[in-house]
Symmetry: C2
Subunit: 336 residues, 2 copies
């Protein structure tokens, strides 16, 4: 192989940034495709060190060929799963905390646009009518921040700045946030029952999978808004669609998706959704339904994607790779 490292799922702008910081004297392979889109079954990796985001499936046959893996994401359960499934001891790295503010601001954008019905307003410009366009103000509005980690803390900072009425939900309370923002923690059901906005910034763990499903969210006040910038697996799309159709939620803003790989395969690669089965079939069907409805704002897992975070991500990816090429160890390794 002539490449030192192969970068999958690297779109044009990210490639340009990465190339600025990568160690010189090496050749690098770049593609915007996932591994499964780039390689036919049985093909070897394009380099002994590979880097991807969260939508690639690494072939099990590569477990004995790879020297290093860098996931350009904060979540790394997909890498941990791969290593454990293959009993592989491949050195691996992830990128903690490069995009928390970008993601939190994306959440703020989604709830503001939903409160103000922006998709409907934009459409109504075409007839210059204002019927049905009355929105709700952000200031003073109740919000539950579910998951007050790195991203959730930034959401609390924004909610405080906009003079909202915020509470947090988390397994452990953060004394710093209580001191700085006067953050009050509530159990999930109480937080949902009092909040017109429910913002999910949870990571995916055994505990959080399905946690914000139809049952939990149905306790929200009528007309509440749900925003998910955490992980899609926490909140199935078909549950959200059902709650909006029932009029319990008035809308939802989603940047992350349950069965995101299958969704991407359908939307990006033209896979026929009729070929899907089980949960992924139901999820993709619900999302295609949402896509036609202005009560939903859907973005393509793009909340992290700002100039500021792309810069931080590329710098930290390059630093990890440089360290590994020099010393054989990563700066921010995955401990599994």
């Amino acid at each position: 192989m002539s490449f030192s490292a192969a970068f999958y799922e690297a779109f044009e702008e990210e490639e340009l940034q990465l190339r600025k910081f990568l160690p010189s004297g090496h050749e690098y392979f770049f593609t915007w495709k996932t591994i499964q889109e780039e390689h036919k079954a049985g093909e070897p990796p394009a380099a002994p060190i590979i880097s991807m985001r969260t939508q690639s499936r690494i072939p099990d046959s590569w477990a004995r060929k790879l020297e290093g893996i860098i996931t350009r994401s904060t979540g790394y359960d997909h890498i941990a799963d791969y290593l454990s499934r293959n009993s592989a001891k491949i050195a691996s790295a992830y990128l903690p905390d490069y995009a928390a503010r970008a993601v939190a601001e994306h959440a703020m954008m989604l709830w503001t646009c939903l409160l103000r019905k922006l998709p409907v307003q934009s459409k109504a410009f075409g007839s210059f009518h204002r019927d049905g366009l009355t929105g709700r103000e952000v200031k003073g509005r109740s919000i539950a921040v579910v998951g007050v980690g790195r991203i959730g803390s930034q959401i609390v900072d924004i909610a405080a700045g906009l003079k909202m009425d915020f509470v947090g939900v988390d397994v452990a309370e953060n004394p710093g946030l209580k001191r700085i923002y006067g953050l009050r923690y509530l159990p999930l059901p109480e937080a949902i029952a009092r909040s017109e906005i429910i913002a999910c910034a949870l990571p995916l763990t055994r505990l959080t999978r399905g946690m914000l499903g139809a049952h939990a969210l149905s306790a929200a006040p009528k007309g509440a808004i749900f925003v998910n910038v955490g992980r899609g697996e926490v909140s199935p799309a078909r549950d959200i669609l059902e709650l909006v159709e029932k009029g319990i939620l008035s809308g939802a803003g989603l940047d992350v998706y349950n069965c995101e790989k299958e969704l991407a395969a359908v939307l990006r690669d033209g896979l026929d959704p009729a070929g899907l089965e089980g949960e992924s079939a139901a999820e993709v069907r619900a999302l295609l339904e949402m896509k036609k409805n202005p009560s939903f704002i859907l973005t393509p897992h793009n909340a992290f994607n700002t100039e500021e975070s792309v810069l931080r991500k590329s710098q930290r990816t390059a630093e990890n790779l440089g360290s590994f090429l020099r010393t054989g160890t990563f700066i921010t390794p995955i401990i599994s």
Copy 2:
């Protein structure tokens, strides 16, 4: 006439709110149409007291028939013009300060969506691609608030809450804002030259007409964003379009329009734009061009329109009408 007061330009939701607060024992006429859409030339008003927003043209022949006018808007130059043109002494009222926060939050929504390219992101969901979707973060971003009155002060409050780098532009400095927010005032050209976001919250006066045209805004940093929630006459659409086409501005969010009456006539009533002449022809042409371009977010003069402000507006309209019916004077009269 059997009606005590006639409400023009009152869309469904506003009518419902108004009816809650209006004095009982009277009959009221309601229509969502403007006066010129509702009445043929020569027809009398539907009641001796009329109320409208900013798009109605009151016939000169009504000057001797009307007893009272209430404009359900904060701006009242259209009423002052009418009274002065007809040398009429009709008691008139306006609604100060009912929607400042709603309008300021609308501005925040527009600049956030433009920084994050939301129209492009929403479209890209359909192919689940992320090329060209890198946005900019709000925190730390430079913003010039042009016009620091009731709305502009609320924009400053939001910019401070989101930890932006803000300056103000106004004819007079407000010591309260300097004390509370550390607001720094700059002359217009300097403020524009240092700001990636330019937010217009100016009223329409002889001084402000055309003030944020191509010349003034062309000093902005490359890729700057322009947001107008003040008055369209301050910033002609064809100038904004030109600056975006030249790549000086990366986008614009508009809620108010120069030649708004003609624009509404084209979009709402199907008037053929080819029949327009002069400035309004050029303005409407530019806006129809913007409508096709995701670098623009256009809303139908709807920034004021929240549940909170509609409630305040209806209450204050009803209070003014009640006072006039009892005492012959308004609570918030137009002094002209």
